[in-house]
């Protein structure tokens, strides 16, 4: 049991490295926005270490700078981060039903797009120590990138930031492409998702909708359509 925990924790540390690198790059931009919002380095770093949500923090910082009320910031935070509710539902089905509450409470701290994506792609049940391992490397990446952004501002070479910031998308692709190769429904869903997401961003009717909301609407509509048209048989699910 103990060795099993160690094995998953160590695997998490390794798989957390690309997440850390991507986070470091992406959060530099976040740090710059925090600096522009008038936040100090300790404030911005603490916010990143605790919250770990890119769009959510960005919106929060912008509202703080605008002098919004505490309640307004919290409501916007809920809207920007609502997709985590879906991810948490999906992840709940990857857990051993007997997993103690303390592990569920602890894991909940680190449901980010990337840690969720990697966690949910594990074969069979998810061991919480895998999440802890990834979080142990990814969280410092996010917090230190933010700190770097606040301190260095725009002094970092743009080409370096640009290159590092696609690392997270590479990670997403390595998660959804292999199942798409094996399963035609998933392959079709990826193509539909790309097209729908592009259309949503290109059409000016949707300009008023936040990017977090767009992700939720598209995810719910496309996944629900697929679930109704192509319900999954028991044995396929274990591949998820």
């Amino acid at each position: 049991m103990l060795t099993d925990r160690m094995k998953w924790f160590t695997k998490g540390l390794g798989d957390g490295i690309p997440i850390m690198l991507g986070y470091f790059a992406v959060s530099i931009a976040l740090g710059i926005s925090a600096r522009n919002a008038g936040m100090t380095a300790p404030q911005a770093t603490l916010a990143s270490a605790l919250i770990m949500a890119s769009a959510g923090q960005y919106i929060g910082f912008t509202l703080i700078a605008a002098g919004a009320s505490y309640l307004e910031v919290m409501v916007m935070e809920a809207i920007a981060n609502a997709r985590y509710l879906l991810m948490s539902c999906a992840l709940s089905q990857k857990l051993d039903p007997a997993l103690p509450l303390r592990h569920r409470l602890l894991m909940g701290l680190w449901i980010t797009d990337e840690i969720f994506g990697v966690s949910v792609s594990v074969d069979g049940l998810l061991n919480p120590y895998y999440v802890y391992g990834m979080a142990a490397v990814a969280t410092p990446g996010w917090a230190l990138g933010t700190l770097t952004g606040v301190v260095l501002g725009n002094a970092l070479p743009a080409r370096v930031v640009s290159a590092l910031s696609v690392g997270l998308f590479g990670m997403f692709m390595s998660i959804f492409v292999p199942p798409a190769r094996k399963n035609r429904v998933i392959a079709a869903l990826v193509v539909i998702s790309f097209a729908a997401s592009y259309a949503f961003n290109a059409l000016s009717w949707f300009n008023g909708i936040s990017s977090g909301m767009k992700i939720i609407i598209l995810t719910v509509v496309i996944s629900l359509g697929a679930a109704l048209l192509f319900p999954v048989k028991g044995e396929d699910e274990h591949a998820a």
Binding site: G14, I17, P18, G22, A47, L50, I51, G56, I64, V73, M74, E77, N81, Y84, L85, M87, S88, S92, Q93, P97, R104, L105, D113, G117, V118, A158, R159, S162, A163, L164, S165, V166, G167, L168, F169, G170, M171, F172, S174, I175, F176, V177, P178, A180, R181, I186, L189, V190, S193, F194, S197, Y198, K214, I215, I222, S223, A226, A227, F230, E237
Partner: protein, 102 residues
Amino acid sequence: MQRNVYIYILGMWLVTYLIRVLPLTLIRRQITNRTIRSFLYYVPYVTLAVMTFPAILTATQSPVSGALALVAGLALAWFGGSLFQVSVACCAVVFLAELVIK
């Protein structure tokens, strides 16, 4: 009224944490409804695909380098590249492409 930044941060954290932790703690059993199970099975792939495109085109300095990284990442992942390999390859493609483009 002078507001405290640390209270803002705490409020942002609390809301985000509740959203993340509630389903995880409240849904303690395997869901048996086939439609809901299928829905949750498809959610990760759809949401990751939606987040990848077209966002990857605007994450870089030039949409061309983002598009090259997209093609490289899709191809490498298709032919069995690991998480780390695909991730690093995308970064390398953008870095090299922008040496040429800029």
